[in-house]
């Protein structure tokens, strides 16, 4: 029982079917690991002990009846951005510290229906705005590989729980890199599908034209199993796309012979750390050994993606977060003098510094007379960036590079410098602007810290991304490395 946490979802499901352990025991095992390490990592905001025990019991009934699906009885956690009926959804903010949603997000509902057992809700940067998880009302999450370092963000709690094997998987959301960047910094597998592939219903909105739900898991095969359940059209999300959902495990075992991989020179610019670059180059050579051919491509406008993103994302967040006014949603200040005083004081006390900064930027770029110069301009540049990718995909099947310019940085290193923090997402943001699916998979270590390999696919080409990631993982073991202190039972 003690090393259950080193198994993948596939391995755990086999054990459940063979009755080596029950879903209840599995839940207990991971729940204990979380309880024992949360003081150190702070990766979980809310534990759902009672609900998890009840769901696990139902899963055991299904398993006994021979009615189990691949995720039945598998414990996982949800990023605290997904609404969960009856369990607090804080979004990492004081604003929603007391918010209990009356319904489940579609992601939550689908995973529950498949029999997955939710253990709790993971820590995150407030309203998903951040790249270090230091912008959480509940305090920073620590990186399991080095607790003096950040796990990345905004899905930092989800990446940390998987890295420390406190659960085999967790959900996340990615607006500019919020799944892939923490996946890279924590050495786990992160998948951001095509925009609209997974329903946003019940996922607290940050930047609606960029937000996409996804997964953090130990490997690509597990990500495929999760995506099989999470993907699909949802009437309740007006941006959800009605596009057939394949079985994402179907082509995992395909050979990479004939695969054409694009390498953009822009990924290997001056800002890239040498240790990261050499691991990524080695991974690219490994993909060549597996049958892929490499073609140099250019994404000339990638360099303006961060600038473009901070217009689109800030504008949309200022609009989305206007509902956090102390009446419709959120914290309400004491003794308001009048509605104006109530809005301003509630919002000022309810939001943290980074959220306020983004709301201010968004308000400015949307203010009277500026729309054309900022938001409209950004939407035009966005098309130019997307067209770069479109041209590239005429010649290649997928694009590969580093997920992040450097490995995990230390706590407080960038917290006081917003621009430096924003540049952590320089390689990931363009995929959000273009709506493309992308992954980060572990591809080695630099000075003891994990390095992520970034794979970007064409629209709706998640199956191929997962195929490439799985083949790479069959021939490497970076994805199965676990930090020493979390390898055994946690004292």
């Amino acid at each position: 029982m003690t090393d259950l946490h080193t198994l993948s979802i596939v391995g755990l499901a086999e054990g459940l079917r063979r009755r080596e352990y029950s879903a209840a025991e599995l839940t207990q095992h991971f729940m204990e690991r979380i309880s024992k390490s949360n003081t150190l990592l702070n990766a979980v905001i809310t534990l759902a002990e009672e609900q998890a025990a009840a769901t696990a019991e139902q899963a055991d009934v299904r398993i006994a009846a021979g009615d189990a699906e691949p995720l039945t009885g598998i414990p996982l956690l949800h990023k605290d951005i997904f609404c969960t009926d009856g369990i607090r959804t804080s979004c990492g903010s004081k604003m929603l510290d007391a918010f209990i949603a009356p319904y489940d997000a579609t992601v939550v509902a689908r995973l529950s229906a498949a029999g997955a057992v939710m253990l709790g809700k993971t820590n995150m940067d407030e309203f998903a705005m951040g790249s270090s998880n230091e912008a959480s009302y509940y305090g920073p999450v620590r990186n399991p590989w080095d607790i003096e370092r950040v796990p990345g963000g905004s899905s930092g709690g989800s990446a940390a729980v998987v890295a420390a094997r406190l659960a085999p998987a967790a959900t996340g959301s990615d607006t500019g890199g919020s799944i892939r960047q923490p996946a890279a910094l924590c050495g786990v597998t992160g998948l951001k599908p095509t925009y609209g592939r997974i329903s946003r219903y019940g996922m607290v909105a940050f930047a609606s034209s960029l937000d996409q739900a996804g997964t953090l898991s130990a490997d690509a095969r597990d990500a495929a199993l999760l995506l099989n359940v999470m993907a699909g059209f949802d009437q309740r999300d007006s941006t959800s796309i009605d596009h057939p959902v394949p079985d994402y495990t179907a082509i995992l075992d395909n050979s990479l012979d004939g695969l054409k991989i694009g390498i953009a020179e822009e990924f290997f610019d001056a800002g890239l750390d040498d240790g990261v670059a050499s691991q990524v180059q080695a991974a690219i050579r490994q993909l060549e050994v597996l049958g892929a051919s490499i073609k140099n491509i250019s994404l000339p406008h990638m360099k303006v993606s961060v600038a473009t993103y901070y217009v689109v994302a800030s504008a949309e967040c200022s609009s989305n977060l206007s509902r956090m006014d102390g009446v419709r949603f959120g914290y309400r200040c004491e003794n308001p003098k009048d509605p104006g005083d109530m809005y301003a004081r509630s919002r000022s006390k309810g939001f943290g510094a980074e959220v306020k900064r983004r709301i201010m930027i968004g308000t400015y770029v949307l203010s009277a007379g500026f729309y054309d110069a900022y938001y409209l301009k950004a939407q035009r540049v966005r098309r130019v960036i997307a067209d770069d990718f479109k041209r590239a995909f005429d010649d290649v099947d997928l694009i590969v590079g580093p997920t992040t310019p450097e490995t995990a940085f230390t706590l407080n290193e960038k917290a006081s410098d917003p621009i430096r923090m924003y540049l952590s997402d320089i390689y990931t943001i363009a995929a959000n602007l273009a709506g493309l699916p992308a992954m980060s998979i572990p591809c080695g270590f630099s000075q003891g810290l994990p390095v992520g390999l970034h794979l970007i696919g064409n629209l709706f080409d998640e199956a191929r991304l997962l195929n490439v990631a799985h083949q790479y993982q069959r021939h490497t073991d970076w994805h199965s490395r676990v930090p020493e202190r979390f390898l055994q039972e946690i004292p």
């Binding site: 609209g196 941006t239 901070y310 217009v311 109530m342 809005y343 930027i361 400015y364 629209l459």
Partner: protein, 95 residues
């Protein structure tokens, strides 16, 4: 692009945020730096480019005008900070 203190106060008012007078200078400096970063997008010539509103150019879906939600009044009111006799209580707006 350098924002003045007065501009920061204006933006804060529009955003319904209250900012301490002591923090105005820091906000002005930080927001100015972000706007400086944003200026990079002006390097791109977009004269003949159609703005991209959706990554896959999807159009707004319509649905039949039918009631689909079930009545959950009690469940929803139980979550409100203040409710009484089936009504949501909000702070007084008119004296």
């Amino acid at each position: 692009m350098v924002l003045s203190g007065a501009q920061v106060r204006d933006i804060a008012w529009l955003a319904r945020l209250q900012i301490d007078e002591a923090d105005i200078g820091q906000y002005a400096a930080e927001l100015s730096r972000v706007l400086e970063l944003i200026r990079q997008m002006n390097e791109v010539d977009t004269d003949d480019v159609i703005a991209m509103a959706h990554p896959t150019d999807a159009v707004q879906r319509l649905r039949a005008d039918k009631v689909t939600e079930v009545d959950q009044r009690e469940k929803l009111q139980a979550l409100a900070p203040l409710a009484e006799s089936g009504l949501y209580l909000v702070p007084r707006v008119i004296e």
